[in-house]
Every structure is written in C-alpha cells, then in structure tokens.
Symmetry: C2
Subunit: 254 residues, 2 copies
C-alpha cells in the first residue's frame, strides 16, 4: 500500500504570502512533518497530527515522513519559503534514492512557495533585477573552501548574490569571512540588503554599503542580498531607499 | 498630489499559485499596466481599467504607470512570476531614478510571487536543492560575451543554472551557443530540465541529459534548469523521474 507525500512551501511567514495551492495541500494531509516553528504556523485540525523536529534533522525527518506515507497515509512535509531552495525537497529526494524501492512508488507532490530572497528583494526594491545567484553559507554539508570559490566566482562574474543561512551560534565566523572575500572583488560601495522576517510584523530591512557590512547585522533568520557593481541606491525623502539592479549591463570586465 | 503604485507578481500562471496578497493588491488598484497575457488573467471589474502593451516595452510601460500614479491614482503594474526576477520591478526603479523628483514620492509597493524556476523545480523534484543561479539569455540589454562569461563562471563553480528567456524569434541562436559553452565545462550526463507552463493545464516538463539538450526543446515561455555535476536523476516506475541536487557537496574541483 503506498500513500502520498506532499512537500509544502509556506512562504516567508506572512499568511498573505501562502498560496491557495499550499493552503489546500495543508487541508488535505493528515500527518505533518517539519521544523517546529513552521508546523506551528499551520493551525491544524483535531484530525491532523504534527510531528515536529529540530532544524538540523532534515534527513531523518524525510525518512520518517516517507515511512509513514509508505504505510498508506497522506503525509505532508512543510518548509518555510520554497521547499526546493535550501529546504526539504532535496532531503526527501535523497532519502528516496537511498531508501527501499517502495518509496519510489509513493505519490510525491511539491508545492512551491515564495522564497526568502524574493520577499526581501520586494521590500528593498529590485536588487535581483539582473542575473543573480543563491548561496547557502552553511558549511555543515559542504567544505568552506567551496563556498569561498563560489562567492569569488559569482562576484567576479557580476552576479548579485543572495546569502541563505548566513550565520548561527555554531557558525559564528563564516559571514565575516564571506564579506572579506566579497570585498576583495567588489567595490566597497556595493549595496548590501539585510532582510529579516520580510512581510511579517517584526520585519527588519536594512541597507548599507559592503564596506560597512558587518556580521552582527544578521542572524540565522536573515537573508542577505549583496549587489553587483551595477546595483544602485535611489534615495527618497520620507521613504526607505530603493535598491535595484538595472536590467541592462555592460560588457565583461576583463 | 502623489498616488500609489503596486508592482504585483502573479506567479507562474496557475490561479492556485497567486498569493492572497497579490489578489488583494489587484482588488485595490484602479489602473493596470502590463504585458497583455498577464493583464488578461486578472478578470478586472468594470471600475478597473487595463492598459496593455508589448513584451519589449517595459521602460515605457513603467513611465506611463508612474505618470498615472503621480496624478494621484492607485496604479498596478503586473508581472508573471515574481516582479523582481527579470521583470517589471527593475524597470520601474530605473524609471524612478531617471524621472522627475515627484516620482520618488509615490508610495511604491512590490508584491512577490512564485518565479518560474521555483515552479519548474517543484514539478521536476529538487534540481535547485543546492547553490544555484538565474541567468537571462536575452542579449537585448547586455552583450552576449557577458552571458558566456557568466555561464562559464557559474558552471565552473558548480552552480545549478536556471535559464530565463532562453529563446525567441529575434534570438534564435543564443540557446544553442549556451549549450555549447556549458558542454565545454560540464559532463554530458548533467541533467537538464525544460519546464513550460509549470502548474498549468498545458504544462510540459521534460528531462534529458546535457549531451542531448537541443534548442528546439524550448520556446520563449520555457524555463530551463541545467544541473551541476552533483545533480542526480531518480528513475521511478510509472512516474516521471525525479531530478535533484543533493544538499551536500564535495570540495572545489581544482
């Protein structure tokens, strides 16, 4: 008997940014696996059951959810933002590939959501208005050297860079080192946006220049957008500045 | 007198993927500026007015919308997907920066949406499960050399690559050239996902290997996701394969 597993993206945390598709998927499932703060947002019914776990237990969570679905239940795995961006969809795929054959028979659905960088960008202007990349600064699952290589490659080629998982108690020095790397390639006048809880009542969006960016401006719930050399700031009286990257770009810097 | 301008992301085209925030923003505005197919989705009321224009007239459209808002009206500019990703938010910011001072006084709001690569990824598995970038293949506003430089830098550093605006009647050869560039850096076995109309009734998601990827698999409404060397394909009986990029990665390839 093989059930259903739906991986649901809940968006950045504002209920107005949860898609109707995600709301319907939540209404239809019976068992909910996820990081506690995300599951707590759901307002489950009495006939629905939450199984919450810690932030760093993605693979175990994915396996437990797949086991439950393989028993014939309709199971949901919930993610903040979009489940495909540094979140649960990859963990579930990893578990399926390494797991028993029957897990490949589970009906798998993935519901996309508004990922953090889009919500932060919308509050700042249009910093992602041209070619951009997203890099997780967590070196739990990849070597730090690889992260530095990617930061340098991306900045050197003129990509705007969105940094996910910028800092945590267990990873205190990485963000400072990332700013040092970027400063070696980018002008100190490059705009940097620190976005926390975008679209929520406790939202905090802060813009500064790369030369003034400091790790203590971020915490683990912050998404940071580092501009390219083309990124600009428009000052406005009585309103926050607009940060944007023009749609046009000039030739390679050789 | 200074009005309001809201730039609204309508998501990939499935009404279930329009956020409540976007629906509310549509309900509140009076004048709607946008590319005709997007505005046509809105189902406007009799007291709301659509001003549609062609796909390549973003800056003129932004200026007209700002002029209307500056007259005190509540104006909306609509985008498919997310307005901050190769869409109208950057065009409006450009127009504000170059325009009369009073445009900076307009109350500007941006409503994020699910951008195409997220919708395509959700239908394919989790191809964006690790560090990734988004590149527009249009060389209307940037030189082709810069696009090649970015493709090579991104592929060489192990980013998954989402290609927006891959091909059009006016840009027939660029996608083939992009595949050639990528083939010089990536294994021919790298998975490639062609996603068209993700989440819509006419959806078409197709997965192949880079060695077999061909420009005729795409049109202007396709978003293409080119994996990294780490990206994997899980075959499933009776279901489409899952394409995913693991959360972990090994060291830099030197």
């Amino acid at each position: 008997m093989s059930g259903r597993l739906t991986i649901i993206g809940l968006g950045p945390g504002n209920v107005e940014q949860v898609t109707p598709e995600a709301s319907r998927a939540v209404a239809e499932a019976t068992f909910f696996y996820g990081y506690k703060p995300y599951v707590d947002r759901l307002g489950l019914r009495d006939d629905q059951q939450a199984i919450t776990s810690d932030n760093r237990e993605e693979l175990t969570r994915a396996q437990e959810a797949l086991e439950k679905a393989a028993q014939g239940y309709h199971v949901a795995v919930v993610s903040g933002g979009d489940p495909g961006v540094f979140a649960m969809a990859a963990a579930v795929c990893e578990a399926i590939e390494a797991g028993p054959d029957e897990w490949r028979g589970i009906e798998l659905g993935i519901v996309p959501g508004v990922t953090a960088m889009l919500a932060v960008a919308a509050r700042a202007g249009a910093p992602l208005g041209h070619d951009f990349c997203a890099i997780s600064l967590s070196d739990n699952l990849k070597p730090w050297d690889l992260i530095e290589l990617r930061l340098l490659a991306a900045a050197g080629a003129g990509f705007v860079i969105a940094l996910y998982n910028p800092i945590s108690k267990a990873r205190p020095w990485q963000l400072g080192r990332a700013f040092e790397c970027l400063t070696a390639v980018l002008p100190g006048t490059t705009p940097v946006v620190f976005g926390r809880a975008a679209g929520r009542p406790d939202e905090r969006i802060r813009t500064c220049l790369l030369a003034d960016a400091s790790p203590d401006m971020a915490d683990m719930a912050t998404c940071i957008i580092v501009g390219s050399p083309e990124t600009r700031i428009i000052r406005r009286e009585g309103q926050a500045p607009l940060v944007y990257t023009p749609r046009s770009a000039t030739g390679p810097r050789r």
